[in-house]
């Protein structure tokens, strides 16, 4: 009793903090992908809080025709301050044309949720539409040659 009066003890009630973060490795603004091919992105899931996070389920919001798979697909337990790497296998759509595509990754746990996104760029090789254009131009040139031979006689 006396000791408690003489030396009041401070009970530091540590506030419960739940903080889940997702980070794609390495950091990049965009990554080039090829239509129909699978590209693996590495994602770090980190528990920055002081409480364990359980039942983390991974899901993605991908462009039409694309598929996203996670390895592992879920994490049952992630202790405070710890992290885990997940392989994100992204398969670009076969018919996807040149351009930037955003894949949003969601991690939903029993206690919290987090999201991140990746910009994937398709720019290798001429696109389907370019071949269409080249085909039309080829036909037009052939047509002009015929016209020139047919109507150009003096």
């Amino acid at each position: 009793m006396l000791s408690s009066l003489a030396l009041p003890s401070w009970t530091l009630a540590q506030e419960d903090r739940i903080d889940l973060s997702l980070r794609l490795l390495p950091d990049y603004y965009y990554r080039e992908v090829t239509p129909g091919q699978t590209t693996t992105l590495f994602m770090e899931i980190r528990n920055n809080g002081n409480q364990a996070i359980t039942g983390i389920r991974l899901d993605a919001n991908e462009p039409e025709g694309w598929t996203v798979e996670f390895e592992p697909g879920s994490i049952s337990y992630l202790g405070a301050g710890s992290s885990q790497t997940v392989d994100v296998n992204v398969t670009a759509g076969e018919k996807s044309t040149q351009g930037d595509y955003t894949v949003t990754i969601l991690a939903e746990a029993n206690e919290t949720r987090a999201a991140t996104s990746a910009v994937l760029r398709i720019e290798d090789g001429p696109s389907f539409w370019l071949w269409i254009g080249i085909g039309i131009v080829g036909l037009v040139i052939a047509g002009f040659v015929i016209v020139f031979l047919r109507f150009g006689r003096q």
Binding site: W129, L130, G133, V137, V140, V147
Partner: protein
């Protein structure tokens, strides 16, 4: 009578020049306008409506350019015939020395350049939107 024929040939040549100018200017302006429209459509998105509109304009470019090229080719043939007649007339009148016959080949070269300009602006108007897309 020969003066009337001469006036008629000169009149035909003037009409021919005006028609060719219209063909060239119309084709080039239309090609440039369509290039702008299709480039805008190609960069704005890739839905079905935009694709149909784009291909409609491509069809328009092709038709107008073919019409212009055929018109220019026929115009070149017509101008040559008219100038041949004019030269013959000058020869008959003994004044052919005042008209250099090499002008005929100059006209032919000029027509080829006009046709090349129309053709290339047309091809660029077709291909650029597909590159953007």
């Amino acid at each position: 009578m020969i003066e009337r024929v001469h006036e008629h040939i000169i009149g035909e040549l003037n009409t021919n020049a005006r028609t060719d100018t219209i063909f060239v200017i119309t084709a080039i302006i239309l090609n440039l306008i369509t290039l702008g429209i299709n480039s805008g459509l190609a960069s704005s998105g890739a839905d079905t409506t935009q694709t149909i509109v784009m291909f409609t304009f491509v069809a328009l470019i092709i038709v107008v350019n073919f019409v212009s090229e055929i018109g220019l080719l026929r115009g070149r043939v017509m101008r040559k015939k008219l100038l041949d007649g004019l030269l013959k007339m000058y020869k008959d009148q003994g004044v052919e020395g005042y008209y250099d016959s090499s002008l005929l080949s100059d006209y032919s070269l000029r027509y080829n350049l006009f046709m090349l300009t129309v053709l290339f602006t047309g091809l660029i108007a077709i291909i650029i939107p597909f590159i953007i897309r």
